[in-house]
Subunit: 197 residues, 2 copies
DNA sequence: GCAGTCGGCTAACATCGTTAGCCAGGGTGG
DNA sequence: CCACCCTGGCTAACGATGTTAGCCGACTGC
């Protein structure tokens, strides 16, 4: 959790996104309004537009922050599970079947720790032009490598993890359901599948 | 696609939810406002509150409609794939590995055909008290039976399908990505998995 | 015939994102 | 040293949102 934020250079801008994040994580998405953000740092709403063109720009900064944190979390798991770091880029060796499960666990843990941020990150079309270059690929990297570079498999696992997380966050599973069982089932299914295809 | 709507009896109420649906599917979620709904049927917004307590009640009617349609679509697939209808309830025989893939395909097709309705149905906590009794179970039934009654497996497959659909609808996969490959991979993985556990 | 409910209406409130336009302060060029 | 202009505040306002209060006409049941 080091710096994590490139485009907003000014101190004020950083103050704004951190106020927005506190509101989001503290009071939910409907609390993050331009007036509330401004109030929290002691200015008035229209002044925010001197630092960001509109609200979605603030949200994009939040999204970039979340993606960077998620990428860090997944990279940490990757380093622990398959300590073959420092290879040539693109090296797809020794997936290790536990790697997928470990990454899925970290993914779920991040989403549950930051539910509203996760929903903000994943619930809408990503404005890729507003993201730091390479961020999206960096976040996807650990999983892609864990499945041996198979893009279809990576997308399927991502879909599974995202779907499970988002259904859990929305309270869609029956109350008290044993979700870890379903996660295990899913990770097991993907681990058992051969890379052919 | 027969009747599909129990609580709103009055003709006006039905008119309201159908106007809401037309707005949702025709112009997207931000178009479905109380004023626009009212305008479409020739009355003023406050009059809507003589028929529904608030906007979320209208949305719940839409959600119930969508869930019923989705349930019908899945039941149709089930009848085609495993024509052993009329068994004792709870009978879990002969899953048929293609059944999961067929159901997943129908699920995806419904979501892509009604993207905004699907997002409305699945993107928020479900107000179960506002749903017709048994609807949720009915929608879940075909998949649960297809995986032989294994709740963990059913949840995992649901998570996979929902995640894939929602990522696709949000345009999160790279443009031009071959999603059918990922779907096949996922369905294959779940089909290969034994029911032990 | 009268009462009451049903279903419209207008006016209004608070909140939202956003814009226009004004102005104080500070740094810089002449 | 003074004029300028840019930065970053501000107030006032617009149009839109969901929702409430209160009014009133018509139709229905007794």
């Amino acid at each position: 959790m080091s710096d994590v934020s490139s485009p907003p250079i000014s101190a004020r801008a950083r103050e704004i996104v951190s106020a927005a994040r506190e509101l989001l994580e503290g009071e939910g998405p409907e609390a993050v309004s331009m007036r509330r953000i401004a109030e929290r740092i002691g200015i008035k709403a229209p002044s925010l537009y001197k630092h960001f063109p509109d609200k979605s720009a603030v949200e994009n900064a939040l999204i970039a922050q979340g993606m960077a944190e998620l990428a860090e979390a997944l990279e940490a798991v990757e380093a622990k599970v398959a300590p073959s770091a420092g290879l040539a880029p693109g090296a797809s060796v020794a997936p290790g079947e536990g790697a997928v499960a470990a990454l899925a666990g970290a993914y779920r843990a991040y989403a549950l720790a930051h539910p509203d941020l996760y929903r903000l990150m994943s619930g809408q079309p990503l404005d890729r032009a507003a993201m730091p270059a390479g961020l999206e690929d960096r976040a996807a990297g650990p999983l892609v490598r864990a499945v041996g570079g198979d893009a279809d498999a990576a997308r399927a696992v991502w879909g599974f993890a995202h779907g499970m997380v988002v259904l859990e966050l929305a309270g869609r599973f029956p109350p008290g359901a044993d979700l870890s069982g379903a996660w295990a089932k899913g990770c097991g299914a993907f681990a058992a599948e051969p890379s052919s295809g």
